[in-house]
């Protein structure tokens, strides 16, 4: 097969709307992911990255609805799927890892049962088989003595171990796509690295695809093959991780990189992005970043288009040749 059909996940022109508001919080986001690939969605809070991720699993919070666009996961049309198809999708095809391991687990249920329950949701395992599978999964995500740990409750575990349980739950249905919503944001730096290593192992060993939402470009750089940068509900730049981070072709990506502290840049070299992101519901003709952009020209405020620029990269910036000419402007 060729074309978008070969993608495990393809999101096209997704629009999400909150309640009865007339403006969309996600305004035409597009994204794709294949098996064995880690795709990052980076952006600041409010950019719509987490909502986009939740829409993929059909798990939008109450009050948020899809207003347009397509989501296809393993040839299932998520936007038009009924509750039963969605349930099957979640049990089989898609696993979800959440941001807060402290609250993502049921405090009154033993962790082993929480995993076994997810394994049984597929419907092809008996109770004892599910139990065996849960113990295997606990071992897979790095629990020593998994059979004993099976009987523990979430409050008896550290944050990192809880996140491993959340990952085990996400893996229980043998998914081909893992959706990670800032899975390391609530964790210490050292624990973060361990969790990222675990996820990378899973991609290599199981051949699953991962969509990884984060606001942390350092984390994204470590695990993602490709990164989509979101701003104000739109993907503004997308491309292979290394090229995108070394030679950004959108001023917003550039600005994000300048705001990240690195070893060879002292604290005075950090640049905050001037201005604020647009308010929800603000009228946005043209490029949403233009009001804050040092490279913006008048035309930026009237028209914007997300276009491929070669080497697997795309950008929404009209002035990307200028950025290319500045070559390696950030390193």
């Amino acid at each position: 097969m060729t074309g978008p059909a070969e993608h495990l996940l393809s999101v096209r022109g997704l629009r999400l709307r909150v309640g009865d508001e007339t403006h969309d919080v996600v305004r035409g986001a597009s994204l794709h992911a294949a098996r064995g690939e880690v795709v990052g969605i980076a952006g600041e809070s409010g950019s719509g990255k987490s909502l986009t991720l939740r829409a993929i699993a059909g798990l939008l919070p109450t009050g948020v609805a899809v207003a347009g666009g397509d989501i296809e996961v393993d040839r299932v049309d998520v936007v038009r799927a009924g509750p039963q198809v969605l349930r099957r999708l979640r049990g089989h095809t898609v696993g979800m890892v959440f941001q807060e391991p402290m609250t993502a687990l049921n405090p009154t249920m033993r962790i082993g049962r929480q995993i076994a329950e997810a394994a049984m949701a597929r419907g092809d395992l008996s109770r004892s088989q599910a139990r065996t599978r849960a113990v295997e999964l606990l071992e897979r995500v790095g629990f020593p003595e998994p059979a004993r740990r099976y009987r523990q409750f979430p409050h008896q575990l550290s944050g990192g171990m809880r996140q491993r349980v959340v990952i085990a739950i996400a893996l229980a249905g043998n998914p081909s796509l893992l959706l990670c919503d800032e899975p390391t944001t609530a964790l210490d730096a050292t624990v973060t690295l361990k969790i990222l290593d675990l996820l990378a192992d899973l991609v290599r060993d199981l051949g699953i695809g991962i969509v990884f939402v984060t606001h942390d470009l350092g984390v994204a750089a470590r695990i993602c093959d490709r990164i989509a940068v979101m701003y104000a509900g739109q993907v503004v730049e997308e491309g292979p991780t290394e090229q995108l981070l070394r030679r950004p072709r959108h001023p917003y990506t550039l600005a994000l990189l300048r705001a990240v502290p690195t070893r060879d840049r002292d604290i005075d070299g950090l640049r905050a992005i001037p201005g604020n992101p647009p308010q929800r519901g603000e009228e946005l003709p043209g490029c949403a970043f233009a009001p804050r952009c040092e490279y913006a020209e008048p035309e930026c405020r009237s028209e914007v288009e997300f276009v491929p620029i070669g080497a697997g990269r795309s950008t929404a910036c009209r002035r990307h040749p200028l950025l290319a000419a500045m070559a390696g402007g950030t390193s």
Binding site: A57, L59, R87, A104, N106, A121, R122, I169, G173
Partner: protein, 313 residues
Amino acid sequence: MAFARFFASRLLQAVPVLLGVTLVVFVLIHLVPGDPAQTALGARATPDAVDALHSQWGLDQPLHEQYLLFMERLLGGDLGTSLRFGQSAGDLIAARLPVTLWLIAYAAVLACLFAVPLALWAASRPAALRDRVVRVISVVGLGVPGFWLGLVLIEVVSVNWLLLPAAGVEPGLLGHLESLFLPSLTIAAGMTPLIVRSLRTEVLRVTESDFVTTARAKGLTPHQIRMRHLLRNALAPSVTVLTVNVSFLIGGTLVIERVFGLGGLGDLMLTGIDARDFPLVQAVTLVLAVLVVIVNILGDLAQALIDPRVEVQ
């Protein structure tokens, strides 16, 4: 084993409470006008006869002496002797206690059986018609006086439909279940709304929690999510409401006991107060206080069973 030790230590902790309760009741009942000897002998009794009875019952002793005597007997396991019945208060209570306990437990079970499905049903569509229907039922349940509802139930179910006994307690398990159904239903009608309200609120709160989203992400059915994840986590505050209500019922089943002619502990208490039967009132009060303490310990135990984070220490 941990539970047994917890139970024992909590009972021990309750001893000062129980002492306080007996003291307060002892003082109060002596403040109330009226004299058991006078009541027993009638209005025409000679002062000499009354005095004689006083000294026979030990009522001529100073108040603190009487209290000490009461406590001394209590430590020996003797609840005292009823002045009115001339019988051991312990025996009188033992005869009446089972009916009252049955009534309270039966009412609590019925209230839970009504409240849990109603609360889940209401919370499944907040602000929708079903939610409003449940709210109206709750307000009606809270507003209707127990004695009136009891009389209506007797009139309709027992007298008109000839379905259940109108009064008294039948022997045997089935007899109890049958004859105590209407009084228990009457009490449950007042309790159910409170449990429904707290449970509904809590279910809605838990519905928004992350682990319920996790459960949905697992591909569980709404029913599985409700039973395994929602209910248990939403239950704790309702257990507290239930505990408070049951504590309140202990000694508060009086009116219903009278309406249905059950002759339970509340009935005995009322008789004791009428006759100024100090030892009997004293003994019943103590037993009621112990029951309240036990119910609260059971409530704490239930919390610990529901939520593993609650430690039993």
